[in-house]
Subunit: 190 residues, 2 copies
DNA sequence: ACAACTATACTGTCTGGACGGTATATTAAT
DNA sequence: ATTAATATACCGTCCAGACAGTATAGTTGT
């Protein structure tokens, strides 16, 4: 029961993301999702009582899995900058950057901006973590924003970076994190 | 004649952006736009033969006005880094960052990702300009991505930055442009 | 000067289809 | 037997686009 329910719900969320990614947010219809998940429309509506509830589920899943991956990355690293490093790495990793789940963001934008509220709240926590990284806050913020910039660029297929440049950028961001941290630890100067 | 046509088209584009911004992309309907522009639906369809054509018009307008502002900013500055500096400044300037016209992007995402193609093409040119800035290409790209990150954050109301931090970040980005340029001009080292 | 004609810039109405959501069956699990 | 899960049929609404018609301005012929 609880298990099959969770399985079905997860299957539905995956199907919803798939529909958004392959056909665009405007094609995110209950029928399309149900068909993709090989479930009837009634079945979908049993688990998610409305389209809005479905998208809320997508958003919650996106945030939860992102947080989980951040935690996995940071627990083996005691540096204060570990969080920022993990954030950057996740944003750049094609397997972990949650581009699949990120369809949730697109669905929310397309359907009702209010659905973004949980993400807005999460960003507050992320910025706090960024500023607690031990780096100069402006530098730390620039690093976070650059990671976001890449993530959004790739989410909308805008990124014109070659694979080489992309790798260089990642490397440079990680170097900035390491070096800026040392600056502040060794010299305690600006 | 031609003048009133241009006026009406411009009025319609403005109305369309307004609808997206105030009611969300899902409420971008021909009727809503027509009403906002105080024109009949038939009148709208006279100027833009389909909803798709309307959004294409919005995108073209966004790109054109962004390019125009970049040009205005750069023509009084001969540095190779002028383009990147202008890009950063435009992204941060609430008056010039085209957050109004940027509704076009939201509309495209919500309706049909194919509508983003002109923007994808523009990004190629922007990345070329970024790499021609005289800075280390990875640093220059990070600067551009950070500007993008802020722009997207604010477009979706995600940005958790205080006004002070925001100002610091802008200042730091401009400083990076100036300093990195000097590094390469003075020392001709990495 | 002026009628005949054409092009431009609209308005208001209508329709076919899609979609969200409901109501109601049907089947499976315990 | 009862609850959980899934399926089918259907309703009402909304919306893109078509269409027919109107008003006004410009053009041409005489």
């Amino acid at each position: 029961m609880a298990k099959t329910t969770a399985n079905t719900k997860s299957k539905l969320l995956k199907a919803a993301s798939q529909v958004v990614r392959s056909r665009g947010a405007s094609q995110l219809t209950l029928e399309a999702v149900a068909k993709e998940a090989r479930v009837s429309k009634g079945g979908l509506l049993y688990h998610y009582r409305s389209k809005r509830a479905l998208i809320e589920g997508m958003i919650a899943h996106l945030l939860a899995s992102f947080e989980k991956d951040i935690e996995n990355q940071t627990k083996s690293n005691e540096d204060r900058s570990a969080w920022l490093e993990a954030y950057v790495k996740l944003s750049f990793d094609p397997h972990l950057s949650h581009l699949e789940e990120s369809a949730a963001l697109v669905a929310a934008i397309a359907n009702d901006p209010e659905l973004l509220v949980p993400i807005q709240e999460q960003y507050l926590a992320w910025q706090e973590a960024t500023e607690a990284s031990g780096l100069d806050p402006a530098i730390a913020t620039i690093v976070r924003l650059a990671a976001d910039g890449l993530w959004f660029n790739e989410l909308f297929d805008l990124s014109p970076l070659t694979a080489e440049r992309r790798a260089e950028v990642l490397e440079t961001l990680l170097k900035i994190i390491k070096e800026s941290q040392n600056d502040r630890q060794d010299c305690a100067e600006s």
